[in-house]
Structure formats: structure tokens, C-alpha cells
Symmetry: C2
Subunit: 322 residues, 2 copies
Amino acid sequence: MSTNNLPVLAVDLGGTKILGTLVDNEKITYSYLTPTMASGGPETVIRRICDVIDHILSQNGRSLSQIHSISIAAAGGIDTKKGIVTLSPSLPGWHNIPLVDIVRKNFDTKVYIIHDANASALGELCYGAGKGARNMVYMTVSTGVGGGIIIDGKEYEGASGAAGEIGHMTIDVNGPKCNCGNTGCLEMLASGTAMAREAIRRINAGEKTSLTSMVSGETDAISAREIGAAASQGDALAGSVIKQAATYLGIGMVNLVNIFNPEMIVVGGGVSNLGEMLLSPARELVKQRAFPISAGAVQIIRAQLGEDSGVIGAAVKAKQKN
Amino acid sequence: MSTNNLPVLAVDLGGTKILGTLVDNEKITYSYLTPTMASGGPETVIRRICDVIDHILSQNGRSLSQIHSISIAAAGGIDTKKGIVTLSPSLPGWHNIPLVDIVRKNFDTKVYIIHDANASALGELCYGAGKGARNMVYMTVSTGVGGGIIIDGKEYEGASGAAGEIGHMTIDVNGPKCNCGNTGCLEMLASGTAMAREAIRRINAGEKTSLTSMVSGETDAISAREIGAAASQGDALAGSVIKQAATYLGIGMVNLVNIFNPEMIVVGGGVSNLGEMLLSPARELVKQRAFPISAGAVQIIRAQLGEDSGVIGAAVKAKQKN
């Protein structure tokens, strides 16, 4: 019997949460969220992944023969061919962990792995904001800036599955050093972390803002969410911090538009919840600075699937493999 | 009879020269070089292209049925589907010129057009430095910086045939304005023009260099060629100008490596004749700053086909179309 109509058991392995789901095309028919407990190291986390899979199967009364496959979206360096997590900044102790083999040893079915940003890109392409695009760049803006590239309707992985690190292109050669070893990376200037850093810097320099009372003086608690809320209420500092990050984001987009001439740039990740406050100045910059033929061809829009894009994309990938 | 074993009549239309050839796979069996006379406008240039084609056919005693097709590599904005040169900075007066239709009206055979950097990328991929690569970025460094992108062994054109403008990615957000409307573009910092500009600036600021006597005091005559010659003879200013450009070029490469995770970056164009003076510092920077997995996967090497890459690639494209 063909398994192709069966749902995929799709897992999104993040640094703080594991999202386990049953995915039936674009529909998530069952989902279960649990902490990753990443500090416990690979053994703990792998046990938790297997528990999530067991839980989903039992709660839905399904045996392994009643799912299409298990597909895991994970952050970090992923060797998709060998099924190995080579390293992951958000998962301490993960170095060359053969996750696919380990999961397959526990569950005798097909097991796939995909880089989480690539999964989100595929999810948005097939069932979200990117529908109909042939060439698309997915940008995720949250604590960092990541990306997934779609070429000719397919995930682009590069020579070793590491393509799409658009957050680590230098846009300011004299800018701050990034943890990645590079300088003036987009991520250092346009991520949620960058916004918070800039807001705190300006507060420490004596500028007044409603952010201070919003976090009861605990400036370390400031994140893009608070900055967005303050900006919506007319706070000048918050508004200007967002505008600055949006400008940097726009410069990154100009680069991507000139390089890829894509039909779409789809922006997801937590910081994309700032919506037009973030996207409108970025879009304007693309119009002003990118090559007119490419600027005219690209739509820059928000992602639609939110935190589900990873599992939906992981399911798409699994079905493509089959 | 299949035309697939016949040579392609391939033309490289540049701002200063038209190179007309017969191309038999990687071999140029006949070539003819003539000035473009671009200042004469489209009509003059088109007449010259047709004359070149006539000349090649008659000199080789071939009728149109004895060539595979005519394939033209051209700089600028090219709509390859419609066969139109939408605009070309190096060809004054060229706006939406339906070059393919015009040439076909004069020569009743298949006529193709391809962006010159994409042609060079294809040429190097199939018969030059890029042999065996699946994913490759071709960079041309001359008066400007351009590029051609190979994805999965094929030319990547983007949504409107305008992809690959890697010379116009911002790497210095506070850098000089570029003619393209963008700021701090790689081309403004790493091209031959940028090198000459920097050398002249430093000479005007009073620095001593053998370049001054090399051009008999006519500093406007300084180009990357003179700077390379002076550097080879140990001139400190020339050496430092090349080092600076190579550093910027390396930063551009870091971006491309992090984004594309390619197997190869192939560097062509006149300035690439500087060889290791240019490539070695750039390569070093990629090793230091790009993601290790991608930095380890990429070879950064000189192009092999020189000025022939455009016609050879144009011929490859024509055969692929058929």
C-alpha cells in the first residue's frame, strides 16, 4: 500500500521547545509542545524527541505503518544526506549527532531531517505566503537572522547543506564583530537582539523612553516585543530603533534582490510580528536602491504560517523525498 | 538532419569590442574581433553585429544551414525570454532593443541571447575552471564587478533574467554612493576602477609611488594593470591598494559563501590577471570569516577561459536550448 496519503509525523526541534505534530498536507491535525531541556545535552534531548514521537503515535492510535514518515526540522548545521546534526548553537553538546539513525533505530520507519529555516521556506512556499513563487528567499528575523532559499520551486541546500546563512552577510564592513567570526553581519544590525541592544545603549546614554517603565527598570528584559509595543504607543526611541533595524534589513534585502532577482521575499520569525513598522521602510529601501528590473519583480511580504512553518515544511520535504 | 553537431556562431557584444566566433564545443575554430563603435548608437552597432556574422559565414564558406545557431552574449539588462536588451550601461542608446528578432530577420536561423556574465559562468562551468561543480558563483572583476550564478549545474537567471548582480551588494553601509543608486557596493570597493581611484587619491594626497613615473605623470592613465605591474616590482602603495581591494573582494566572497555554500567561486575579468596578489588575501578572509562548513567546501580559483568564456558560454547555452 502506498504511504503517500498518510500524515507525516513532523517535529520542530528548537533550542527551547520541541513541537511534535501530525501534518496532513497543510493541515496540522495534532500538535504537542514540550520543553527541549537543551541543557541536559544530546542524550536528554534525543530521549525527549523519542518520547514526543511515542506520545503522538499513542494519542492518535497510530502505528508506524499508519504514518508516512518522521521528519525533523532542526536549527544549526545539518548534513541532510547523512542525517547528522553537525553542530547547533542552540543545542549545547551537539556535535556530529547522527539524529536520523538514532531515531530510526527507535522507530522502524523512514526518517528525514531538514534545516529549520529551509523547512519554513518550503512550508511558506507550498502552503503560505510564497505560494506560486519559483524563486523565493525566506528570511527569519528573531533573536538572529536566518534564511531559506527556494530556487526553481525547490529547496536550495548548497554543496554541504549549509546555504542560506543570509544573516551572516557583511553589510557594514566597519561594523560590530559577530559571534560567527564575521564582521558587520546583517544579524548584528537587524535582529531582535540588535534592536534590544540598541535600545538599551540609548537608555544607558540617558535617552528617555516609555520602555524603561514598561520593564520596571529591568532594561535587560527589553526585547523586540516591548520595543514594538512602545513604538505603537508613539514612543520616539522605540520607533527610531525599529526604523534603524528596518533600514538595515532593507539593505540586506537589496543585496538579496540584486543577487537572486526573486519573485518573493517572505519574512517570518518573531520580529516579523512588528509587521509594516518593519517591512514598510525595508520595502521602500529596496525600491530606491535595488536594480529597477529586480525591484519591480519582487514582492516583500510577511510569512503566513507563523511557528507552524517548520513542521509543515518538514512534512513537505518528507513527501518530496518519496 | 540534426544540427546538434554543427558549430555555434557565437558573438560577444561588449562596450568596446565585438568578438565573433565559430564555437565547436570548447574549441573556437574561427574568431574575428572588431570595434563596437558603441557611440554610433544601436543602429550602427546592430549593423556591425550583422556584418560580423556575414563575415564569419563567408570566411568559413558556411551557409546558415551549416551552423547550429547564432548565440549572442551581451552586457546589461537582458530579457532572455523575449530576446530584448532592456538597457546597457556600456551601449549608449540601447533601450528595449529586440536584438534577437532583428538578427533573426537578417539571418533565418535560431538566434539566442544571454547575459555576458552568465555566459562566462556557463563557459567556465562546462569547459573551464568550474568543471564538475554543481553550484558555482562566477565573479568577473574588471572596470566593474559582475557575476553569474550556477545552481545545480544550470544557469540561474532569476524571475526576470536579472540575477547575479553581486557587484551591487552593499558591503559598506556607510560607503560611497554607486552609480546604480545603492551605497557601498562591492563594485565601488573592489573593481579595477576602485583600485585606480584609490591609487590616484593617495597620489594626490602626496604619497610616493613608482606609478607616477610609469604613467609619465598622467595619473588618469592608471588602471589595475599598472597597479599590478608596480606591485610586482615592490611598490608599496600599489601593493597596499591591491591588498585593500582584495580584502573587500574577500568580504564579498564571504557573503557569497555563506549564502550559496558553493563548491566553487571562479574569478574572471581583467583584474583577475593580478592572480594570487588578489586571490590569496581574499581566500584567507573566507577561511577566517565564513561559516567553517561552507568555507571548507569552496574552492576559490581563477577563471581559465579568459576573454573567450563569453562566446563559449553563449554556445553552451544555445546547445542547451536545443
